[in-house]
Symmetry: C2
Subunit: 504 residues, 2 copies
């Protein structure tokens, strides 16, 4: 499924033959060919740079001073690279992070960089992160996670796909224009952070502060921090579900009871909680909270059609998920239930007996945890009210002597972009040009707050343009990016710059 | 509520005055008075011995070699004491205990001792244990747990009531006969172990081995390892509930899922499990498993009356339990639901998210844990079948694609004694004599396997004759035995010997 290297020239050829299908004329074929050729010829250099970046254990998750030093070194290395391209680089110092254990750790700076400020060109801002999830060879890696290792066209290493590869692909695209002494068709900005895997500490504040300065001239924001839904077919991501996380506490007293000396005479908090949690979804995962579906944006026929062409092999998906049977038999239903419908998952219970063995305890105070993935146009505070009223009604029917408390402890809005925005059209064309196919128009069932945050604060068009394949294993052992995805991805970004300037 | 010391002579007087109420004549008042006087006069010596025993940190729970050494020292000290009384002492070596971590720890020996073998006297065997629960001053003790400290007539120290105090009270009773050069009215045997708090390792095997030797001549077995139900009024315990512990596993796959990328398309194991657990009891703790109550022995009118005189102050009980409201308003209903009816408690879930915080996980495989306290004549294998069929029926209605497995991992029979057995009658008389009241005839809602094990293996009459008050705090911080309970308890055992020999 990995085309041999050099097919890109074939694709350019195909593109030239099929040129008539585009509404505006394709980019000058001469320039594209030169760009692609340069990228193909210098691909080993690009892989070498990725090797150097992966070699730095820029783990932001484990709060250790020596890791924070590596993280800072990573940020400096990236800033150097951008300065070499001629970018103006601003290191934003974020000071220190106070850890729960009292320790104070330095935060890596955020890089704000800009390259070009021609008012006649569109300005596109690329967001990426240079920190990684923890990884150790012992975790089950076949190779050292910090030594980028190529096997069968796959480049294995921590951060290869999440997110160092895509950041470098963007830089490769820019540097190719520079190397060929070609004018960049767009003004480019970068916002690169080093704390994404640890919750993007201080990022939102910075975006707010920079809204009227750094972001004022930005037209488009591109994030390339997710994956295709396929191993072969590129995708564009235009939405992510939100999330509302609930705690429901049932309390009799703070201490636990012995089930022999108290079993049979009191309302046991776990029994109350189990009844509450059991009232939330039925066995076909339909949410039972009254009116919860009322706010959901209606699904249009046009939208339904978009699901038909998406490259998902159900059998493959089931096998790779190790799930014997899903609740839906068609690709369309499956994807819509992941992206387009809310879902409710019960995560567990805090305060009950959760270890191996057979403790005979009546927990005195337990907290049930569940969350609802939200879709447009579900409103967080309406959902909070619906959930609370429902649980109060169920609890009140039990006539229990315990106390129940419901709280929504996390609320993240769903995000959806207008897929007719200029940058989506430009990206589609670029994908057609480089890969010869229409992209899968996908959403993400999980919650990626960054897109919604950028959109809400800056009010700019935000697009997620992934480069990695579905099996890249971000956050997991043996994370990789295919050489093909990395190199064709660099071409994709270069083509995107050209398309964006033309559509403008 | 603690009568001043010396009231025992007053009680003897009362006993003499009320002598006519007994079916047979009371023990020779002269001997009883002498015994009581001796015990009163030597009570400081008895407390001193308890101080020496409490000083040894005979913790069997924490698997540490230095604690096992202390445990062995404790057993040697007890054996010395018994030998000084003239008992033949047999140290049964139990070898080593293989710990799960690979470490091998010595087991303390079990003491089998005998004093007298007159075929014309009844033989009573006393079971006790000399090991204790862990305790450290830091846990919240007001005094050093291994320095017996008297405050307001309360003797604070780890093991004071559980079970060193009662073991010594029995020994005090024997030694008083010896000191007064009085013939012991009964043959006495001891079985003293050092691993009770760690699950009585190897005890059951030993009882089986000794059934036709050590236990062959035994008529009565007395256990004094529980508490009264009152602060003031003595009790006799004639039953304990059994327990059947169930695991119900629901599995989709071994790994967890991300709730964003899988929420909405599969049967989530926690949702299935919550439905299963929610089908077990209603909100008035009635068990919903079909036919589960069918085997329960019917409650007789005579039995109901026994509950009326039991000394429990509901208000006090509620306050000390920190429970705002129980499900029953009368003492009789409350006690019957603790002792006489089965109860089902859900303990928790293994494999779900149980920590503080907000993890958005769909657990892939979870195990629900619950247990049913059993009463006569509930049969373990019938209960196992009823529970399994019920859960299978509930699960099958859900049409879930997950796999469910039910297993009963622990089955302990309920125990109930015949309260008209000779030793119960003798103990009642002894209590009337020493305390001037009828004992509370109580059961224990929790499961104390030792009584049932002795009864099943030896086929002898087993009685639980507690000495400690309800507020002694066994297993907890600031464990204590009242000086009054310890000293009057020593008199109680001496009187019991006399009553037993007379009733025989």
């Amino acid at each position: 499924c990995m085309p041999p290297l050099g097919t890109s020239s074939l694709l350019v050829l195909l593109l030239l033959l099929e040129g008539g299908m585009f509404s505006s004329s394709p980019p000058p074929s001469g320039l594209l060919e030169k760009l692609f050729q340069y990228i193909d010829l210098h691909q080993d250099e690009f892989v070498q740079t990725l090797t150097e970046w992966v070699a730095i254990e820029s783990d932001s998750v484990q709060p250790m001073p020596h890791l924070r030093q590596k993280l800072s070194r990573m940020m400096v290395l990236a800033a150097d690279k951008l300065q070499h391209l001629g970018a103006g680089v601003d290191f934003v110092d974020l000071g220190f992070q106070q850890m729960p254990d009292g320790q104070s750790l330095p935060l890596p700076p955020i890089i704000l960089a800009e390259l070009g400020n021609d008012p006649n060109k569109p300005t596109v801002c690329f967001y990426g992160h240079l920190d990684v999830q923890p990884a150790q060879k012992d975790d089950g890696w076949f190779t050292d996670p910090y030594t980028l290792t190529e096997v069968d066209g796959k480049l294995y290493g921590r951060g290869a796909t999440d997110n160092k590869g895509p950041v470098l692909a963007w830089i490769n695209a820019v540097s190719t224009f520079r190397a060929l002494e070609q004018d960049l068709p767009v003004n480019i900005k970068f916002i690169l952070e080093g704390m994404e895997e640890a919750g993007s500490v201080a990022l939102e504040e910075l975006i707010k502060r920079e809204r009227d300065r750094f972001f004022s001239s930005v037209d488009y924001i591109v994030i390339s921090d997710n994956l295709w839904i396929s191993q072969r077919k590129p995708a564009l991501t235009y939405g992510t579900r939100g999330n509302s996380y609930f705690l429901v506490e049932v309390k009799c007293r703070d201490q636990d009871f012995h089930s022999g000396t108290f079993g049979g005479i009191l309302n046991e908090p776990v029994a109350d909680l189990v009844a509450l949690l059991g009232s939330l979804v039925d066995s076909s995962v339909h949410i039972l909270i009254p009116e919860i579906y009322d706010q959901m944006a209606p699904i249009t026929e046009e939208e339904k059609k978009m699901y038909e062409t998406i490259d998902v092999n159900l059998e493959e998906y089931k096998n790779s998920s190790q799930v014997e049977k899903f609740l839906f038999d068609t690709k369309e239903e499956l994807l819509m239930h992941l992206w387009r419908y809310p879902s409710l998952s019960i995560h567990g219970i805090e305060g009950a007996f959760d270890e191996p063995g057979t403790k005979t305890v009546i927990p005195g105070r337990v907290i049930g945890k569940f969350s609802i993935r939200l879709v447009p146009h579900m409103n967080l505070s309406v959902v909070e009210k619906q959930v609370t009223s429902h649980l109060e009604a169920v609890f009140s029917k039990r006539n229990s002597f315990n106390k129940m408390t419901v709280s929504m402890v996390l609320g993240l809005h769903p995000w959806v972009a207008n897929i007719n925005d200029t940058q989506y059209l430009a990206a589609k064309r670029a994908i057609r040009t480089v890969f010869g196919v229409e992209p899968d128009m996908i959403q993400d069932g999980s919650t990626i707050p960054i897109a919604k945050i950028f959109q809400d604060i800056t009010q700019k068009s935000v697009m997620m343009l992934p480069l990695g394949a579905v099996d890249d294993g971000e956050h997991s052992q043996n994370e990789k990016i295919n050489r093909w995805n990395y190199i064709e991805g660099s071409k994709l970004f270069a083509t995107f710059f050209l398309e964006l300037s033309k559509l403008r």
